[in-house]
């Protein structure tokens, strides 16, 4: 699609950047992004992607707005208590940019939702099962995945460009014992601006992926808000990985069963 006169004005600050320009802005307008989880990561990510002129955003979260969400879940206000997060978010985002089509799923991540077409998927969830489900789907369908998380003062981001890279995936970074890790965010808390920054970094990573400037497949970026330092960690692909290596049928079956069952301890998006 080409840009309207209103869009040329609205996105003037992007258009003047050589590496974006009209061509890049048009790519943003043609993109369809899934944001899984509308908590401290999903709120700023949705806000910036809607502002950036992404053509279509799908939001998925089954939760309602609670008072403890407000410090970091920037799309919600006190008057929204008890309302569905995705319903409130759609209303707020529609006020921001009527050109972005917002589709909402007021339920947990399921196969029906995943089977729609997405240009990039954002993992803004807070539990390993949902993360691994998104990972195996993105790997299989060759969809870029941008995963982030935050606990206490620390944030983490990993992007995977499964369109071009078939070795090293989110599952390589985990092990079976991860399934039993309970929600560290509730237990150890999270600094609002740290999780917000990670969500904003996810949005930036989406723009970079859309423009074809992404060369950090499987690099883990860690930010420590307490020391103010970033580090980048790398990893070799796991040769026994259920997703990106050749698994035995039995282990693959165990993996699929594990990712389908939701652990009740981990059922909120922070």
């Amino acid at each position: 699609m080409s840009l309207t006169a209103k869009q040329l004005k609205r996105h003037n600050r992007h258009l003047t950047i050589d590496s974006i320009g009209k061509e890049g802005q048009t790519i943003f307008g043609d993109a369809t992004i899934l944001i899984a989880g509308l908590g401290g990561l999903g709120c700023p990510a949705a806000s910036y992607l809607c502002g950036a002129g992404i053509g279509s955003i799908t939001l998925c979260d089954s939760d309602k707005v609670e008072i403890s969400n407000l410090p970091r879940q920037t799309l919600f206000k006190e008057e929204d208590f008890g309302q569905s997060k995705v319903v409130v978010a759609k209303r707020v985002l529609n006020l921001m940019n009527t050109d972005t089509k917002i589709t909402i799923f007021n339920k947990e991540l399921d196969d029906k939702l995943l089977n729609n077409f997405y240009t990039v998927i954002l993992d803004c969830t807070d539990n390993i099962r949902a993360r691994l489900k998104l990972n195996s789907h993105c790997y299989e369908k060759k969809i870029p995945l941008v995963s982030a998380s935050a606990t206490a003062w620390e944030g983490q981001l990993i992007g995977f460009d499964y369109r071009h890279k078939r070795k090293l995936c989110m599952s390589c970074f985990t092990n079976q014992e991860h399934y039993h890790v309970s929600n560290s965010c509730t237990q150890r808390g999270v600094v609002n601006s740290v999780v917000g920054m990670m969500g904003t970094l996810q949005a930036t990573t989406v723009l970079r992926l859309l423009l074809g400037h992404f060369d950090q497949h499987g690099e883990m970026i860690r930010y420590d808000g307490k020391t103010g330092r970033f580090i980048t960690l790398t990893k070799k692909p796991d040769p026994t990985c259920f997703v990106c290596s050749e698994p035995t049928n039995q282990s693959k079956e165990t993996f699929i069963n594990n990712t389908n069952v939701r652990n009740p301890e981990n059922d909120t998006f922070l």
């Binding site: 807070d126 390993i128 606990t151 944030g155 039993h180 560290s184 960690l233 990893k235």
Partner: protein, 81 residues
Amino acid sequence: MCEVKLKFFGYLSDLSEEVPTVLTASTPTQIRSKLAIKFPKLASELHSPSLLLAVNKILVNWDEPLSDGDEVAFLPPVTGG
């Protein structure tokens, strides 16, 4: 045995203020065993299955052979969203 540098991230750094920054060991497992003697609380945190371990900024397993001058980093899991 090699002399390696230790780095602790996140809440692990709060538990490791007294820990020497340099230690001799041939694997990360050995580092953990050595720390258990004087720093049992830290060492028990290092047993967390989801803890990340990096040698020279590459994520590795606990049996990774170490070389002189390696920087061994321990990072708590970051899972919330």
